[in-house]
Structure formats: C-alpha cells, structure tokens
C-alpha cells in the first residue's frame, strides 16, 4: 500500500525522529511511504486559538499537499482529529465550499497511526522489541475525538520485552492544550504536576502516547524535574527491533536522531 506520511509541523520541526520512526515502521511492514513535500501544518493551532480566518490558507495548503493521496497517516491523534472535525468546517465558514468538500474527502482517507495499523492494515503485532518498563497516556483528542480506544495498548502488549504498566487516572488531561499551556501556564502546570505524579508512581522508565505535543509537555516537565523518566512516542517504540537496539538503548530512543 502507498502511504502518504503527514509528519505534522511540530514533529517535523522539533522531534523529527517521531516521523522517521513512523516511516521506518510502515516500510518494515511492507508499505511504500511517500512524504509530500508541500506539507506544513493542519491549522489546528490557529483554529483553537481563535484565528479561524487565518487558518483557511493553512488548511488549503494541507489539502493541496495531500491531493490524490490514497491514505494519509500522521503520528498525532490531535492533528488527525483537527483534520476530521475542523478543517472542512473552517473552509465552509469562509465560503470555500468546494475546498471544504475536498477537505472532508481527504479526512476520510486520513488516519492516526494506531488506527491505521489496527483498522486498515489489520496488524496488532508489528514485530517490535522494546525491553523497557512503559506506561501509556491516552491523549485527550485520541481518546475523546478519535476514540482510538485500546488500539495503542493492543499494539504495545504485542511488543517483545516491553513491560506495560497501567497509568493511574490515565484519562486526565496532561494540561498541554496547545496555546492553553502558555495562556494559562499556571493551571496547565498544575495539571502537568498531577500527571507527572501519576507517571512517576508507576516507576516506568518511559511514558508513551500517540501525540508528540502532549509528550513534549509531559517530557518537558519530567526533564525539568530531572526525574529520569522520559517520553517516547508510540511510533518510536513500534519502530524499535532487536537489530535497532544500541548499547545506549536505556537512555536514547532506538531510532537515531
């Protein structure tokens, strides 16, 4: 299958290893990965901060960049949720009805990674090896907008060597919320503190999730506290294999930066 990879603006710019891991994983599963060069951002940050008019050209660029793609996969529940729930609506409100229909059609072919693996490809054991104690945080948009349910957990349970520990109060928001983290930094930090307390209570080495943005938030807090517990995207864990393990596995992700 030919899969178009949407890296998302945040992953591409700040944590490219997550997009690399997604490509590595999909290729290992025997699929052709293409990375449309015109891609930038889904427009969610603009929409959710109140700049829905300014989001219109960003969404239009996204629809152009992925025109003709059979299937689009992104390592982010939040961006995929925005593509599903916001893009067409934003265009329609701006009077771009034709483009809105295209966006709606593209959304139908756009998948969050765990949904694509389990629902479209029908795999739950991706042949990964990750010998670490891991806890999983179900990010809010994956949980409540996309309803990915236990797909990520099913994938993690099939990873060899992985010791999966349940995260207490897992369904509570980590406090990221896009520009909320900056506009309401104090409340955001209070939420983060409780999330970190729960993560640390599991004694996991790694906290994983399907969204690099939330992980950047949780990881930023854990790193500031010098907690030693790190955040690793689900794609990076699923991309890891016995062959990819390095001596520094316990401190760096399997996929090289």
């Amino acid at each position: 299958m030919k899969v178009s990879l949407f890296a998302t603006c945040l992953v591409d710019t700040l944590v490219p290893q997550v997009a690399r891991a997604t490509a590595t994983l999909l290729e290992r599963l025997g699929h052709e990965v293409v990375v449309p060069p015109g891609q930038a951002c889904c427009g969610q940050m603009h929409v959710n901060t109140g700049y829905r008019r300014e989001a219109v050209p960003i969404v239009a660029n996204h629809v152009r960049a992925f025109a003709g793609a059979d299937a689009v996969v992104a390592p982010s529940g939040s961006c995929v949720a925005s593509i599903h729930h916001q893009q067409a609506e934003v265009l329609r409100r701006a009077g771009e009805t034709g483009l809105a229909d295209e966006a709606a059609a593209l959304a139908e072919r756009t998948y969050e990674l765990s949904q694509f693996l389990v629902d479209v490809l029908g795999v739950t054991d991706v042949g990964a090896y990750y010998p670490h104690r891991v806890t999983y945080h179900p990010t809010c948009h994956s949980l409540r907008l996309l309803r990915v349910g236990d797909r990520p957990l099913t994938l993690l349970r099939a990873v060899r060597g992985l010791d999966l520990v349940e995260l207490p109060a897992a369904d509570q928001c980590c406090g990221f919320g896009g520009t909320f983290a900056v506009k309401n930094a104090d409340t955001s930090t209070a939420m983060l503190t409780d999330k970190m307390a729960n993560v640390l209570s599991t004694s996991a080495e790694v906290c994983t999730a399907g969204d690099a943005s939330c992980l950047m938030h949780i990881g930023g807090g854990l790193s500031r506290l010098r907690s030693g517990t790190r955040t690793v995207h689900l794609a990076e864990i699923l991309a890891s294999t016995e062959e990819a393990v390095s001596p520094s596995q316990s401190t760096t992700p399997a996929v090289p930066r």
């Binding site: 591409d12 710019t13 700040l14 290893q17 990375v35 109140g50 700049y51 409540r144 896009g178």
Partner: protein, 495 residues
C-alpha cells in the same frame, strides 16, 4: 424602491441584541481567569477540598449513568428536545404565559437583571413582607437579586444548606450544584460558630451535627416567612407547571408554606410537554448528584385555593439569552440543565476552582455561557480557560459540544479586536508562512538555529524571553534538530 430600503437588504438596521447589563448581578469577575487562577492554585486547602469532592461525585455519576442501558438514547432525546424547543421558544413562552395565567398565576417579563430585580422587589413590597426565604436558584444569583432586595431593606435568607454556608460566610458560590464545594466541614463549623445566632458552642464538624444546626436555624425562618423566592429547573409550557428538583426538603418548605411564591426563571428553562419533562427527570439527578432520583421533586401549577401559596408570580428573565439564541454555534449553551457534570469532570475547574471564573456559572458551561450572556469582550479570558480535553462534552447529559463553542468564542474574541495585537501579528505571519511550502522550509531552518542557544545540551535554556518563558518557567523545551524530517527525507530521496 429608495436607496435606503435597498441598503436595508444588506443591513436590516436591527439594533444588536442586548447582553446582560454591567453593574448588576454576578456574571463578570474583576480579574481575568489566568490571574485569578494563579492565586487559587496556591491554596492547598482549596485544591484538597475540590479534588476530594469532584473525585467522589465523578465516581457516583459514572456508576449510576453506567447502569442505564439506554443512556445514549436518553441523551440524544434530551439534546433533540432542547434544540426543537429553542427553535420555537417564542411560541412555547407564550403558551406558558397563557397556561400560568389561566391557572391563577401572574407572569412578568424581564428584559434584564435590573428589570427582574425591580419586579421582584415591587412584588415583595406589595405583600408588606419585610423578609423572604429562598430556594437555591442560579437565576437569582445571576441577576444579584439578594443584593437588590437588601438595598430595599428586605433580607433574603438562603435555605439550601450550601447556599446558607456561603451566605453566612459572606462568600460567593463556586459550583452550580454544590455552592460551598470549596469549603470542608471544619471550615463550615467555623462559619456556623461565628455567624449563626444562638448556635450550640459545642458544635463539632460531624456532618449530622452541622446539618441539625442548620435545620434549627432555618426552621424558624420557614415558619415565619410570608414570601418565598425560587428558581425553576423546568417549566412545562403545555400546562404552565413549574418544577424544582432538590435534595434537602428546604425547597418543598419554601414552595408550600409561605402565602406568596415568586419564581424567577431564565426563558430557556421550559419544555413543551410532560413527556419531554420525563426525559430530563431521568438525565438530571444521575448527572448532577449521581443519584437515581433526587429526594424531592416539587411540581406546581398556578394556585390552588386553600392549599399552598395563594399568590404565584413567574418572572421570566432574558438577561442576554436572546443574544445567545441568535448565535448559531453558541446557542447550544442554552440547552444546559445546570447539572454541573461538566464541572465535576473538568481538570481546569478541579484545580482552579469556581471563583476563578468570576461568574456564578463556573466550569466548562460557565466558560461558554457567561461570555455569551455578557458579550465576549466582558469575559474574554473565559473561552481560553480550557485545554479542550473534551471531558465536559462526554459528560454532558444533553450533549452540548462545549469544546466547539469554546473555540468559536475564541474566534469571536479575536475577530472583535479593533487594534492589531502582537499575537494577531504573529498568527497572521505564521499563516502566510504555513501556507507557503517554500517559506515554511525557511522558517523551519530559522527555528533550527534555536539549537545554538542550547550549546549542545538536549534542552533549551530555562530562561527564555516572553512568550516562550510562559512555557520554560516550568517545562523544558527540546533543542531543535539540525535537520527536519521532511528535509532529511527529501535529501535521501533526491527530491
């Protein structure tokens, strides 16, 4: 056709629908949400009280909602009934007025808080009463009725236990259903000992002892009162019947003992028929107190000679609701049945507390309702007081899409700005960059230069200038990579 009438095809010349007026009532705070929350977050006792209370109610609600096999259908029915009712609200309201009048009640229409307060004050004065007892009511808190009556020399006694605690403590409610949720029993004991005349000085913080003290304090007021003031959970338009749902029986006392009953109700609270009411009487108690059925449901229709109040007045309050109804996205907020399930599941409410919202309607529903009633610019920080986690939408018994309304109101705020803000400049520039792949690659390269600040460390320095400092004060930022993924991929694949 004159040019003027041709113009009116574009602009109907209708005045903007009025919002809730300033200077009266409790819909506006004197500080922004982030500012108020900053102080509240430092209050460890508040965090403990709220955390304990919301966790308990969440578990109770989840259990009783989970046992209803047709909950999704009930929820869909609730949403559909509300949408249909709002679409013909004018007709239903007139029907309600006709029915209440036909059964011996009097209906009064109040455009806003000032009119409503004036009507109620005049009605109380006409009875010759010099005090009133009150059933817990959000509408009267919204319009500041107690203060208006106080100014006219009429003390208004709250009879709901939590409202009594708040009133005795010279405090304000911080939750729709549990107004004193921010207080624990030790704090309540202190308030009673300090403020309740003739209270037993050996009072302990045992919940039963506290309730009995309140009971003795209130009983005397119930028996003396000539006028009661209530809100309404529902009004059935078909028969002119009002409904109050409660737990303590104080409502039943107020609704039956005094000679005159004055009910103050927002115009959105009616349902067309009894069949519709049936849906909400299932949705409300399970969503609010986490009970299968609430202990007291009082229903009354007009007046009945020789039984209950002999004089009944219904004051219908707009106070900005018609303006909300005119907003195609925001009007869904009027479907709210004030269960407060959204408050109890909200991670922002649980930490910042109700007072941070500055309005009698706190939490997620308050963040969409208050700014719409007052006009967004009078409560501009509230639509941003959410991480958009969506827990409120899932919990709402009438499926109000609160996150979508929050996002809509954020845009309404941004679009209402007369002057270009630094934020708007940044977002507009970013929009140009993110819609042009060539500019975007350049911008990504520029962002990559941020790695120089890190001097080889995996994270950027903690001391960055604003607005980055708002993040880095409490969280590290990863050092940007030398090369983005898309650049590396293009290089490897010869694009």
């Amino acid at each position: 056709m004159t040019p003027v009438s041709k113009m009116s095809a574009v602009d109907l010349g209708m005045p903007a629908l009025p919002h809730a007026p300033r200077g009266v009532g409790h819909l506006r705070g004197d500080r922004s949400f982030p500012d108020a929350a900053r102080d509240a977050l430092r209050d460890g006792q508040l965090r403990a009280n709220l955390g304990h209370a919301t966790t308990t109610i969440r578990a109770k609600r989840a259990a009783v909602v989970g046992e209803v096999p047709d909950w999704p259908q009930l929820r869909a029915a609730g949403k559909a009934i509300k949408a249909a009712t709002m679409a013909r609200l004018d007709e239903h309201l007139i029907m309600l007025e006709e029915q209440v009048t036909a059964r011996g009640g009097t209906v009064h229409w109040a455009r806003d808080a000032n009119e409503a307060n004036a009507i109620v004050t005049r009605l109380v004065q006409a009875t010759g009463a010099d005090e009133v007892v009150k059933v817990k009511s959000m509408a009267t808190q919204e319009i500041g009725l107690n203060e208006a009556l106080e100014a006219a020399g009429i003390p208004a006694y709250e009879t709901d236990l939590a409202e009594l605690i708040v009133q005795l403590g010279h405090d304000s409610p911080s939750h729709i259903l549990v107004p004193a949720i921010h207080k624990n029993r030790a704090e309540i004991r202190e308030i009673f000992l300090r403020e309740m005349p003739g209270v037993d000085p050996s009072l302990t913080d045992d919940p039963r002892r506290l309730a009995m003290a309140a009971r003795a304090h209130l009983r005397e007021k119930f028996l003396r009162a000539k006028v009661a003031i209530s809100g309404a959970n529902f009004a059935v338009a078909a028969t002119g019947t009002l409904a109050v749902v409660e737990s303590e029986g104080n409502g039943r006392m107020c609704l039956t003992l005094p000679r005159t009953l004055i009910t103050v109700m927002g115009i959105e609270k009616l349902v067309p028929t009894w069949q519709d009411l049936e849906v909400f009487l299932q949705l409300l108690p399970r969503s609010s107190t986490g009970e299968r059925m609430n202990p007291y449901t009082s229903l009354w229709t007009g007046v009945t000679p020789g039984d209950g109040p002999q004089e009944f007045h219904l004051v219908l309050v707009d106070n900005g609701r018609t303006a909300v109804l005119a907003d195609e996205v925001g009007r869904e907020a009027l479907h709210c049945i004030r269960c407060s399930a959204c408050l109890n599941v909200c991670p922002v409410y649980e930490r910042a507390g109700g007072h941070s919202y500055g309005s009698v309607y706190p939490g997620p529903i308050g963040a969409v309702l208050s700014p719409q009633l007052t006009g967004v610019e009078d409560n501009a920080s509230l639509p941003f007081a959410s991480s958009l986690c969506g827990a409120c939408y899932d919990a709402c018994p009438v499926a109000i899409d609160i996150p979508s309304i929050l996002v809509h109101l954020r845009a309404e705020h941004v679009e209402a700005q007369q002057h270009l803000t630094p934020e708007a400049v940044a977002f507009r520039s970013l929009s140009k960059v993110m819609s042009n792949p060539r500019l975007w690659r350049l911008a990504q390269k520029a962002a990559g230069l941020g790695r120089l600040l890190a001097r080889g460390r995996p994270t950027l320095p903690a001391a960055l200038p604003p607005p980055a400092s708002a993040w880095t004060r409490t969280r590290d930022l990863p050092t940007p990579p030398r090369e983005t993924f898309t650049q590396a991929w293009a290089r490897e694949h010869g694009q």
